[in-house]
Amino acid sequence: MASSGTIQLIYLQDCQSRQSSRKEVMARLPKPAEGSWTEHYGLGTAPVSYEGTTSPEYYEVEREAVFRRSWLHVGRVEQVDRTGAYFTKEIAVLGTSIVVVRDADGKVRAFHNICRHRGNKLVWTDFPSEETAGVCRQFTCKYHAWRYNLDGSLNFVQQEGEFFDLDKGAFGLVPVHCDVWQGFIFVNFADEPEQPLHEYLGPMLGALDGYPFERMTERRVYRTEIKANWKLFVDAAQEFYHAPVLHLKQNPPALALPMQDNGFEAPYYQIDGPHRVVSTNGIRAWDLPEDKRKRMDTITRSGLFGAWDAPDLGIEKMPAGINPGGCEPWGMDSFQVYPNFLLGIWSQNWVMSYTYWPTGFNSHVFEGTLHFIPAKTPGEYLAHEMAGVAFKEYLLQDANTLEATQMMLESGVVNRFPIGDQEVLCRALIEETDRWIADYKEKKGIS
């Protein structure tokens, strides 16, 4: 992803110091007292191994050590907006499928999507491996019509008299721990989660409470299968060092040339437990001269960073967790919720969320959702279309590059890679995942 900060910095640089040589433009933004974000957060500075993205054995452990022990974001409450509304979610990394439903008491619940009778997948449409959604009064298995209430209890067995000592109370759907934060539904596949959801999310994400996510009900969802380890895509969205290179040509030449020279710096990074954020500086695209804007951005008054005319959020005060570094001008925050959930909050008052669902050590399904306060006018609709299409163009560039990276990492030719300070969050992800695996092995007594 490109960041607004990229352009703002470059633009300022371009206007204010045209004489600067390439060397002199390094480190324009302040760093922590330790001299780098990396050292500030106590991370190593040595080259790193990417074995965690190429080893099938590492992935097998990661499935249990990370994905079975963490809280995983699976959907929004708006997807289950009434009693009986449900959706299914394929969780290939744990070899299961779940159904998420709102029960008669209004509680959002999750169950393994399996009939207790003879193991048929309970909820599916047309293709057993595809996700589905709908509204029902109860779940009825397609095979022998066993029925389950929305709270998972078994309420009907076809020809019950044919069975032997059948205690229906013991054959309800298998529950999955499920909780909701700010309308985001999370599940946890551990027998007993090590922490409740709110504690797991910690203070950095907790400080977002009160942001009006629930008003952003206009969703555009993009999905693609990527032939790369899931962590490689997390990396592509937690460093913007690549933005003025890979995505350069999405900018007019007058903007692209200084961008190319100047690179990228983020004004703020934070690591809080397993979670991370990078913030960017903002841009007022409408203040840029015409030759530094794309013509279609001007027509739609929009672009990758969202509509120029930000909608009213309807809140008196922004939650403290938004723009936690106090960046001015502020562009966006890219929160990385461990392990596989990104929450991007833009100064133009819209939100993006990503999930990366592993399907193997070198493949995953990516889903990106753009959340907008619903458009009321055609112009607003067009502005959202522009943001969506721009997003997809970037995504296509990232997707293929990730495959190219995966291919050569797998060659094993090189196994030590230098990571810069603008990639501090990439390094943090590697160290964090190694820690989860070490902790898991220690608890399980595995050497």
Partner: protein, 109 residues
Amino acid sequence: MSLLPAEFADLEPFAAKWCVDTEDERFAVRMASSMEEIQAFYDAFEPRAETAVAHCDRYTLDDLPEDGANLLRLLCALVQASFPVECWRQVKVPDTGAAAVDCIVQPAL
């Protein structure tokens, strides 16, 4: 039968091709077009695009008449056309090979 409001009648030949309902369909039209076709559409519509937005914005989304909705679809198609013309100088995003991204949910238009 005309698709667009009368003052945009000269764009009817483009509307027949580009006025489709979803972002994925608009992307498909782009992919099935030559760079010359995309450039011709862009050159014809871009100078009048702001006028078209203003025309649509005389209504809300809810009360937009069908010819206005088609004009909005054509504007959304211009968004698709703008990337090949303004950024890539080719129809596809460079270096994207077989990569595909589906827009599986979007607000109805």
